[in-house]
């Protein structure tokens, strides 16, 4: 890692473990989040592979039914609360946001470090609870079962409660940063679209997470002193739990997807070397999604016993989400039109996102139809739908984003050939795993079941093989990153000829204070001029 010795950067400004553990630098905090999140991603991924292996045969393959219930709960809980919700905003958001705004740091650096440690503490508590008695409620903690099971629900729920604070503080920090720390000349419509996406995400983090907090607190109180809020035997209402839970957890779905969309807006325009089509529509559609996200939670409860009228209202509101999402997809495709497209690794993930998110989004519209949902509710169709959005959407964008900003973060280039191989393996493995699950679900395979009918076995085996391929793909990605860290070529300041401030005004890696001189913004982002560069792989000169 010779480069770090040669020129001053945030990586070598201070040395030693404590300089990382007590850093207030948003870039270092972002890197620490990135490492932690991928660590927990591997933990959650191992649970996924164990689940898929168990599902190779009907009945017992190698796990007991109880362990199976615990494993799918842990897979869900870890992936949702430890990986995807903090995921992009806390890692890439932390690193990139102040750079794109032309700021020295986020508004509250100490709060930023504190939210990292809250995240670590909450995550360790969650992992620790596994060893004391892993919960088996599903990640949704539905009452009344979560009030009755013998496992360590209180501990896991407390962990999720603590993680919520981390999420809230990050959201507060980013909103304040975006409002108050923009570079001179950068008005709201000169902000990169990544910033708009993170802004919309932060609004949801701040507005929705406290409700989850109080809901989880009520679960804890209910278990400890039997207070009778959710427990029907004490006069409580378990449906109220579902309302509370989804009031947070549906917006949380957009906490997961909006930052993914934010990254895609950057990737599509950079790797087409063309000004983004419909800047304002993409920006406003992020805000529209954030607002609508608060009005659709009842679509999780179509068969839970809410009134038909409420069901119809929630169904109609849910259709509305398709409009801003569609606006984004059409604008991205329009940006590609006549662009100077390069199929570098980040772009492969961006294009994967376009395919997979479209499938995930449209199947979401199926599920919003009341009558169709009665048939598909709690089947593998739902599992496939949200994996297409969460993994096919968010996680593809996350991987694309990490590749895209890798040279900026570490000053090293990744290997393009291994990068492309990994992207293809992930894309194929993903589709093999989850596409068949749409069919399984429509044929009546319920989600979360340990056992299944013989007729479903072929499709389950295909899905499991896909999961192994997907796992292999992620392994290739990980190897490529580690390889790049040690053996990567030195990265120029702007290898992809992007136009946002982190590329045009900061070195790779940036100095501790980000910019040598305060950048002054005079033009809109994404001005590529008349003769755009053609990025072919990485064979081009630096800026």
């Amino acid at each position: 890692m010779t480069i770090y010795e040669n020129k001053p950067s945030y990586l070598n400004e201070q040395k030693g473990l404590t300089s990382w553990l007590f850093t207030l630098d948003h870039k270092r905090i972002g890197i620490m989040y990135l490492a932690s999140i991928f660590f927990f991603f591997i933990v959650g991924g191992i649970f996924a592979l164990l689940l898929r292996t168990e599902l190779l045969t009907p009945g017992k393959t190698f796990l007991e039914a109880k362990s199976y219930n615990q494993f799918f709960t842990l897979h869900g809980t870890i992936m949702v609360f430890l990986v995807i919700i903090p995921g992009i905003p806390a890692s890439l958001g932390n690193f990139v946001l102040p750079l794109q705004l032309g700021a020295k740091d986020v508004a509250f650096p100490r709060l930023n470090l504190m939210s990292y440690y809250i995240y670590v503490f909450g995550s360790l508590l969650a992992v620790f609870s596994i060893f004391l008695g892993a919960i088996d409620t599903g990640w949704t903690f539905y009452a009344p079962y979560s009030l009755q099971t013998q496992e360590k629900v209180v501990m896991m729920v407390t962990a999720a409660f603590i993680l919520g604070f981390s999420s809230i503080f990050t959201g507060i920090n980013f909103i304040s940063t975006i409002h108050k720390l923009r570079a001179p000349g950068m008005n709201w419509f000169k902000m990169p679209l990544f910033v708009w996406g993170i802004y919309a995400t932060s609004i949801i983090q701040v507005m929705a997470t406290p409700v989850l907090g109080i809901t989880l607190a009520l679960i804890v109180v209910e278990r400890l002193i039997k207070i009778g809020i959710f427990d029907p035997t004490l006069g409580g209402d378990p449906i109220l739990f579902q309302h509370f839970f989804w009031f947070y957890s549906h917006p949380a779905v957009y906490i997961m997807i909006l930052p993914g969309m934010a990254i895609i807006s950057e990737l599509i325009t950079t790797f087409s070397q063309k000004k983004i089509f419909g800047y304002r529509l993409i920006a406003f559609s992020s805000i529209a999604i954030a607002i609508i996200s608060f009005l659709v939670w009842g679509h999780h409860m179509f068969v839970s016993g809410q009134s038909a009228l409420i069901g119809m209202i929630f169904s109609a509101l849910t259709f509305l989400v398709a409009i801003p999402s569609g606006i984004k997809v059409f604008n991205w495709v329009a940006t590609l039109y006549k662009g100077s497209i390069s199929f570098a690794t980040p772009m492969l993930y961006a294009l994967s996102f376009l395919f997979l998110f479209t499938i995930g989004g449209l199947t979401g519209v199926f599920l919003a139809v009341l009558s169709v949902d009665v048939h598909l509710h709690d089947t593998y169709f739902v599992v496939a739908h949200f994996h297409y959005v969460m993994v096919g959407g968010t996680f593809m964008a996350f991987l694309g984003g990490v590749y895209y900003w890798w040279p900026k973060m570490f000053g090293k280039m990744y290997d393009e050939r291994i990068g492309q191989l990994g992207a293809w393996l992930v894309f194929l493995g993903f589709n093999l795993t989850f596409f068949v699950q749409f069919y399984l679900g429509s044929q009546g395979m319920p989600r979360r079941y340990y056992n299944y009918l013989q007729q479903f076995q072929t499709l389950h085996v295909i899905s499991t093989m896909g999961a192994y391929l997907l796992g292999l793909g992620f392994l290739v990605v990980l190897i490529n990153w580690i390889h790049a860290l040690f053996y990567g070529k030195v990265a120029p300041a702007n290898p992809f000829h992007a136009t946002t401030l982190e590329w045009t005004h900061a070195s790779s890696p940036p100095i501790a204070h980000n910019f040598v001189r305060q950048p002054i913004v005079t033009e809109e982002p994404y001005c590529y001029g008349d003769e755009p560069h053609h990025i072919h792989g990485l064979a081009h000169k630096g800026a």
Binding site: A103, K104, D105, A107, F108, P109, L111, I168, G171, I172, N173, I175, S176, T177, H179, K180, L181, V206, M207, A208, T209, P210, V211, G213, I214, T215, L218, V221, I225, K226, I227, G228, I229, L234, G235, G236, D237, L240, F244, Q518
Partner: protein
């Protein structure tokens, strides 16, 4: 200690101007207050749902709360919000002695609130008016549902009480910094920020008091 015009604004490295720092901090605090309201919002929703489901039970159960003590606490908290504002005002005028006096008075009020709350809680414990399975009161006509009222009562006032305790800690820290001479007309941001928090604690009580004590 009477005047402190030398307390300079400690501008953090990543801000360009004190104005930017003040504006950012205030915005951050307002956002945090929004999350607090939403946190309590869950409990207000639970209150509404069960007040709607069992109106008669809530009406009967609330008679076991002491309106006089509740009213006393309301006045104490409202007064403490005034003293916080006076502390900020004094800081703007560089009258540090008055800052210390007003902050001290606020903390005394907060403590008085908790003392009154202690007597209220003690009475409930004594009468067995407790949440869930600990509910043992025999005089109430519908104990199967009345316990939900007391569950919600203890949750809401308990969560509010925790906020009062945090407020005491926060204001004590600010008080010590004021004594040290950190604040003056150039720099009183932490007093303002803590004041915002204290007003929130006050505002939530303003809603809790009628909802729990004054049901008609």
């Amino acid at each position: 200690m009477a005047k402190n015009e030398e307390a300079l604004f400690p501008l953090a490295d990543h801000f360009a101007t004190p104005y930017q720092q003040v504006e950012s901090s205030k915005l951050g605090m307002w956002l945090f207050l929004a999350t607090e309201i939403l946190l309590f919002g869950g409990l207000f929703t639970a209150y509404s749902v069960y007040a709607y489901a069992h109106p008669g039970v809530f009406k009967e159960a609330h008679r076991y709360l002491d309106v006089t003590l509740g009213m006393t606490n309301t006045i104490v908290l409202l007064f403490s919000s005034l003293t916080v504002v006076l502390a900020i005002h004094a800081a703007q005028k560089d009258k540090i002695k008055w800052v210390v006096f007003n902050l001290g008075l606020t903390i005394v009020c907060a403590a008085a609130f908790l003392v009154v709350k202690y007597f209220e809680y003690a009475h409930k414990f004594h009468a067995g008016l407790l949440p869930g399975r600990y509910f043992t009161n025999a005089t109430i006509s519908n104990p199967d549902q009345a316990h939900i009222f007391f569950g919600i009562y203890f949750l809401m006032t308990g969560l509010h009480g925790i906020h009062v305790v945090i407020g005491i800690g926060l204001l004590t820290w600010i008080l010590l910094r004021a004594i040290k001479g950190d604040f003056g007309s150039q720099y009183y941001l932490p007093i303002e920020i803590s004041g915002l928090y204290w007003h929130l604690v006050d505002v939530i009580w303003i809603f809790l008091f009628p909802l729990l004590y004054l049901i008609r």
